[in-house]
Each structure stands twice: as C-alpha cells, then as structure tokens.
Amino acid sequence: MSRAMRLSVEIDGQERLVTVEPGTEGSSLVTVKWSDRAYEVDVSRLHAGRFSFIIPAFGYVSHEVSCYETESGEVALGIGGRQIKARVADSSRPKRATVFQAGGDRAVTAPMPGRLVRVLVEEDEKVVEGQGLAVVEAMKMENEVSSPADGVVKEVCVVAGESVEAGGVLVVVAAGSLDD
C-alpha cells in the first residue's frame, strides 16, 4: 500500500489522469491529484467496494460511496442514491480495444442476459438506424435491440430460443449509406 498509482478516470465523458498517493503507514489519509487539483482524503473502507470519504477541502461531509465494476467493465458509483458510471483504467497499461468499432462493421450486442425471442432481420437485409434487429426477453420483458446505424445485415449470430449473455453479439451490421 506504500506506492503511488496512476489511473485514467472517465466520468461524464471527460477523461482525467489521476494519481493516488498513500499517506504514511497506518494512516487513513490518501492524496488524490489530477490537473491542478490535489485533495487529501480520509478513507474508511466499510466493506469491499464500500467507502466513506471525508475530504477536508469539502468540509466535514462523509461521502458514502459504493463502487462496483459492472459486467460491461464500467465502474458503477453509488452516490446519494444515484448510480454514476465511470471508466477506470490503469494508465500504464493499454486500453481495452474496442471490438469492431474501427472498421465499418458494427457488432450489435445483447444489453443484458436473456432469451432471444425473435430475430427481425435476415442476412443481406438493408436496415436503417433505429430499426429493430432482434428481441431479447429478460425478466418477463421483451426488449427490442435496434440498429446503431444505416447499413446492411452482414451476419445474424443467433437463433430464436437461444440464451444470450450480456454483451453477446446478436447481429453484425455493415454500416454505410443504403444507396451504396
């Protein structure tokens, strides 16, 4: 616990390079810095993933925050009954590559685990942005998954009745104008 750590933290669409420095051995204080800011923070860990922060610069308020990594790799911060999403990465390591995003192909994935009820398109079918591609049922609700862009269905990766995992690819859409 005696070494500093540099992290990339993305919240509200903005990325900051944050340094966390521990206090002296046995102290509950850490220093957190980014840009022109430096905060002393009194950290109390209540449970794995649950913290109370007292930040003297912000007065005597005890900020109770829970921090959990979600299935999609984001960090969900529970603050005052709200759920804020963040991305945290060890800045010394390369970022997670974003699959399929580079080329013109878009992988359309299941937003949560469930059962594939219907596939609404076929391979080689032209689709427009927002058009329904497949219906996933979870918790008694049917959820339509729609195309992120205009394009052509390049591949249908699932069949109706199958179970799907969160993030599992349902359909691949080759993006591009329909007039191509």
Partner: protein, 505 residues
C-alpha cells in the same frame, strides 16, 4: 393445516412470515436458479421444482401437486402472478381435497374474464367504463366501426383475456381502428391463446383507484379504505399509496358500497381487489377485479393495522371475519409503497439481473421493507424484475413522502442496477408532491425527459466521484499487493491459512 407457498421472491417471503407467525407449517418451492433465494430458507421445508423457466417450475401444476403429496401439505397459497388466477388450478386443488387460499374457482373464472366481470358489475349496479361486450372475430369492419362509434373516441381496444398491457391499443379516431384491432387480436392471440377483444372508452385524466376486500365463508364482505395506484409506467404500477388525495369521504363510502355489492353478487371469498377509474368529477367506473393478493397490499396494512395475509389463511381455515368495518374503512395516517426493480432506468428501463454483492436495507421509524433478495443472491433473468418493496407510513402524506425519501437514501444494493434513482427523482416531482396526477402522468413526464439520466452529479460532486473511482481501484489493487488482506468477510481461518500457505490433506 400445512401450507405450500407456490411462489417465489418477496411475496413468498411475505406469506412464509405469516405462516410462521400463525404457527402454520410451511413448504417452500424453488426452481434451480432460486436455490439461494431467501424464501427457500424462510420456509420450514423447501423442495426443488425443476429447471429455472417458470413453465418448468412455478407454473408446473403437475410437479407442484406432486410436491404437495410428498410433503403432506394441505393448502396452497398462490401469491400473485404465476398460478394465482388460474381457475383450473384452483379447481384441481379443490378436487384433490386441498385448500386453495383464494376465492372459489368459479369466481376466479367469472371475474378473470374482463367482459364477464364487467357484466357482473353492471348486474350488481356498479358503474363500469362505457364499452362493449366481447367482440367476436367474425364481426365485419362496419360492425366494428359502429361499436366504436357507440363507445366514443378516444377508446381502448382490450383483450378479453388481457393483462400486463398486452393486446391493448389506444385509438383516437375511426381512421386507425381496423389496423389497431388487427394488431391487438394478433398480440392477444400470441400472449393468451385467445384473440377476442372488446372496446372501452378511454377516460382522460383518470386515476386508478382500487378497493381491497376480504370475504369469509359466511357471507361477510369487508371493504377497506382505497388505494391510489395512478403512478404507472406503461400500465405497470410503480408507486402506490393509501388513502388517495382525490377520494372524498363520500366517494370512499360509495366505492366501498359498490365493492360490497359486486362481491355479494358473485359470493366472493378470501382476498380480492376491485379496480376502478376515477375521473376528475369524482365519478368512478369499475375496471376489473384481481382475485388474489396484490403487490401493493402493504399500504392497506399500514393504514388499517390489519394483516391481510393472516386473514387470508384464517378465512381459508374457516374462521369468521371479525374486523371492524368502520375502522378498516378509514385510514389511520398515510402509507406509500415504492417498487424497487432490478432495472437500469437510465438505459430505457432495461432489466438488470445479476449477483447482489452487498445490500443495506432501509429501516427505522415508519419504514417497512418487504424484500425477496439478499446479499449473495443472483437475481435471475427468468422472472419479474421486482426485487423489493419499500413502504413508508406517517401521520400524513407529506410525512410519508419525506420518510420514503429518507429510506431510499439509506437503501444500497450493490452489483446490480436498480430503479432507486428513478424513484428518488419521481418523489421529488412537484406534481407528485401536490397529488396532481393521473394514470398517464408518469409516461408523459418520462417522454418529456426523453431519456435524460436520473443519476446526475450535483455541482461539486464530480470531484468526489473522481476520487471515489480512483481510490476504490487503488484499494482493490492494493489488496492484491499486500500479503495480509484486510477483508471483513475473510474468516480468521482463511486469513491464517493464506499466510501459512495452502494446506493439503
């Protein structure tokens, strides 16, 4: 009596608690994914039904009746959902000499069909929403248009066998009627195996008001003070309360009388709920009846002091109702219930199943938490996403609202995303606080927000969030760097064993 609770989640826990309090032995049942669910441990005995899909477990009548035989249960409490309004299941139970904790199978059948229930209400002199009888598929387009004209626009096309908003279409004029009828019939046919529809006038700015009743085997029917359930998203209730700000003592009395008239007409027994629409001129219209316990029954319990599940069981074992009708018809204070769903309200209310890593439930004065999950349990994808109900009581409505806000601020559920941020936002809305809303209110304001997040950082909170994200990651890594992991869940054994290396046999 020995009761098998043919349900899961919070309502199974609720019923099993009542069994324990009444000293009645209980049997819980569970599907494969529910092995760790709290209701399994709350039951005196717990039997595996089968695989996780409801059709192979909680809806598997044959298997459930088999468990009844194995365990020697003599009664079945169906809860809500699943088999609770299945008349043939109720009939099958009775034919085997089992007590079905609910009304008679014939009553379930009559009141379960929407047009039959409307007909019963009309015969009992209870006003209904203007509408048609069941419209056979054989009707010509002209006949359909004529029926719609009589009802008047805007109107609802509804499935006779409907529920949960399926097979339902709103039509604002003759132009869209025939296409909407087609769509509704097809959806209803797919959902219920029965495509028959009917038309009902759509009442604008109406409230959803309902009356809880209990009836015993000796002809006594007791109506309770009303519940207000107008806060709905896509016909699903989100917040319920009792009493309603819109119901005057005169209307309350008239609602109670209407409820008793209809219940007497069909010889209703056990617990049930009559749903009404109340328009801006304080006129009410019968909508439908739920022949079972409702999700929102706790608000009634908190303003009357009556334990409805205790009474369901007592009525089923032949006791007479001894409630003071005047007392249970008048609210003592005000109660509000918030349904907590495992859903990501910021992502279009997408279901959010998964493992609950930590749970701190609200508590303290005036707060009741009926929950069906706990820390360590994995919320399955197979069933409804409601995981908990928070209920607040206070002497008045404003007090109940602030208490609910306080309770939600204490509620913490780690590992999954819940609807708590959306509830907090909703409780802060001016119209809600002023009691100015109807059944369309929530959908309207949600549309206005057009997907804006319910979890917005307040000024100054961004820095706290950055600190939290960074420090939590720092500690997660630090734990792995240090030999002596300081983890509260690690027992001294495991700590010791980790230090001295892994022991082997």
């Amino acid at each position: 009596m020995k009761i098998l609770v043919a349900n899961r989640g919070e309502i199974a826990v609720r019923i099993l608690r009542a069994c324990r309090e009444l000293g009645v032995p209980s049997v819980g049942v569970y599907s494969e994914c529910d092995r760790r669910a709290p209701h399994v441990r709350q039951a005196d005995e717990a039997v595996l039904l089968g695989p996780s899909p409801a059709s192979e477990s909680y809806l598997n009548i044959e298997r459930i009746l088999g468990v009844v035989q194995e365990t020697g249960a003599t009664a079945i409490h169906p809860g809500y959902g699943f088999l609770s309004e299945n008349a043939s299941f109720a009939r099958e139970c009775r034919s085997r000499g089992l007590v079905f904790i609910g009304p008679d199978a014939g009553v379930i059948q009559t009141m379960g069909g929407k047009t039959a229930a409307r007909q019963a209400a009309i015969e009992a002199g209870v006003p209904v929403v203007p509408g048609t009888e069941a419209l056979p598929d054989s009707l010509s387009d002209e006949e359909l248009i004529a029926h719609a004209g009589e009802v008047g626009y805007p109107l609802f096309i509804k499935a006779v066998a409907g529920g949960g908003g399926r097979g339902m279409r709103r039509v604002s004029g003759p132009a869209g009627l025939l296409a909407a009828v087609e769509a509704a019939r097809s959806e209803a046919g797919a959902a219920f195996g029965e495509s028959t529809i009917y038309f009902e006038r759509f009442l604008e700015c109406a409230r959803h008001i309902e009356v809880q009743v209990l009836g015993d085997d000796y002809g006594t029917v007791v109506p309770f003070v009303e519940r207000e359930c107008s806060i709905q998203r896509r016909h699903q209730k989100v917040i319920e309360e009792s009493p309603s700000v819109a119901v005057t003592p005169d209307v309350r009395k008239a609602l109670a009388e209407a409820a008793v008239a209809l219940c007497n007409a069909v010889r209703y027994t056990n617990a049930g709920t009559l749903e009404f629409l109340l328009d801006a001129e304080h006129r009410f219209y019968f909508l439908e009846m739920n022949t079972r316990l409702q999700v929102e029954h706790p608000v009634t319990e908190l303003v009357t002091g009556v334990d409805l599940v205790h009474w369901q069981i007592r009525i089923a074992r032949g006791e007479r109702l001894t409630l003071d009708r005047n007392k249970v018809g008048t609210p003592d204070g005000h109660a509000i219930e918030c349904r907590v769903y495992a859903e990501d309200s910021d992502a279009g209310f997408l279901p959010s199943p998964g493992k609950i890593t930590f749970m701190r439930r609200p508590s303290g004065p005036g707060i009741r938490d009926d929950s069906g999950v706990e820390s360590g349990f994995e919320v399955p994808v197979f069933y409804d996403s409601m995981i908990s109900k928070v209920v607040a009581w206070a002497p008045d409505r404003a007090g109940a609202i602030v208490r609910m806000c306080r309770a939600l601020s204490e509620y913490e559920i780690g590992g999954i995303t819940t609807s708590i941020p959306a509830l907090v936002w909703l409780l802060g809305q001016k119209e809600f606080n002023e009691g100015r809303f109807d059944t369309g209110f929530l959908d309207r304001v949600l549309k206005d927000r057009s997907g804006e997040s319910f979890s917005v950082l307040q000024p100054g909170e961004t820095d706290v969030a950055i600190i939290a994200a960074a420090v939590s990651r720092y500690f997660a890594d630090a734990d792995l760097r240090t030999a002596e992991v300081e983890d509260v869940t690690l027992t001294p054994w495991r700590r010791a064993a980790r230090l001295e290396g892994v022991r082997r046999l």
